[in-house]
Amino acid sequence: MRKLSLLLLISFLLFSCQKEQEDIPSLSYQELKPILNKEDNKTYIINFWATWCAPCVKELPYFEKMNKEYADKNVEVILVSLDFPDKKEKKLLPFVDKNNIQSKVLLLDDPNEQFWIGDISDKWSGALPATLIFNKNKREFYEKSFDYNELESAVKPFIE
């Protein structure tokens, strides 16, 4: 009997662990665009990245820290992955799980890259990492890597 309850407990734990690994929504550009143009009271930091992009992976902790420490200042970080759609299960989900990423993660899965790169910003060549910071009054696009101090300085003008 004790063995059985242990087994039940283990399977319950396994099950609940599995449930924690949330799915990452795959969005077309049409679905993503409204998220990049919200006009509520928040400041959004949209970081475009991919698991295969080394400088992206390096700067992710700074975005995570930002999301946590500036939450009370109405700042939200959204990580938009440009991983290939067929790598979502094998690379992206395990990466997010393993690194315990807390910011919201979305996968942009849209074939019309000739259009959406320029539509997101005419300053963007399509290179990663890239970051869009905006609120209802202001908008800035950066095709560069950030460290935490640079990120803080970039966000400051948005929350003053």
């Binding site: 295969w52 080394a54 019309n112 890259e113 000739q114 399509g126 890597s145």
Partner: protein, 211 residues
């Protein structure tokens, strides 16, 4: 005092431009004559455009082993070569990455990859990174379609292979094929420039690179 000030201004200017210069896009425009080169192929020979006496032009593709976009396009680059080599437009692939900045883009790995995939075209190494800056390539893959005219190789197209890097089955515009079909028919290509989608070319010469 004034000279110090001037020097300082000059220094600031030099520092500022040092960064902007590295990111400005030089390189070829459509209509320019492209340089020839002599680069080592994965089979150990040295390859130049001039070796291809019977070619009408070239599909020069800057690509590499390590970029996911390059990998996604490998089969399509092979297909391009198979389709157009016999018509006079062979693929010439060049790896522009510095292996010191991109692990897995050295000649040994290139040989292995060419063998694994059965590349039907030369896969050359841009030793010392002397070729890609002249062309103005910034991405892998980055395509330059050249047409032989009066002994010169004239750039007719710069950009992407097609309009869907991620899903080959959902491609609706085959930019490179359309250009070569037009050239073969003696027409001007309708689209001569598209955005090359891919990874940045890796070099140790600059500050940390975006992908």
């Amino acid at each position: 005092m004034k000279t110090i000030k001037t020097l300082l201004v000059v220094a600031v200017f030099v520092v500022a431009t040092a960064f902007t210069v590295s990111s400005t896009k030089g390189g070829y425009k459509v209509g320019d004559a492209a340089m020839d080169f002599k680069l080592e192929n994965v089979d150990g020979t040295m390859v130049s455009l001039a070796d291809f006496k019977d070619a009408k032009g070239f599909i020069v593709v800057f690509t590499c082993n390590t970029c996911p976009y390059s990998v996604a396009y490998e089969d399509r680059i092979i297909a391009l070569d198979k389709k157009y080599k016999s018509k006079g437009y062979p693929v010439i692939a060049i790896n522009p990455n510095d292996p010191a900045a991109a692990i897995g883009d050295d000649m040994k790995s290139m040989k292995l990859r060419a063998q694994e995939k059965g590349f039907t075209f030369p896969y050359l190494f841009d030793e010392g990174q002397t070729v890609y800056p002249v062309y103005g390539a910034t991405r892998t893959p980055h395509v330059y379609i050249l047409q032989k005219k009066g002994g010169k190789n004239i750039v007719e197209y710069i950009g992407a292979i097609d309009n869907n890097s991620r899903r080959p089955s959902e491609v609706t515009e085959r930019y490179a094929e359309d250009v070569i079909d037009a050239l073969l028919a003696g027409k001007k290509p309708s689209k001569t420039y598209t955005r090359a989608i891919g990874c940045t070319i890796k070099t140790t010469m600059k500050t940390p690179q975006p992908e």
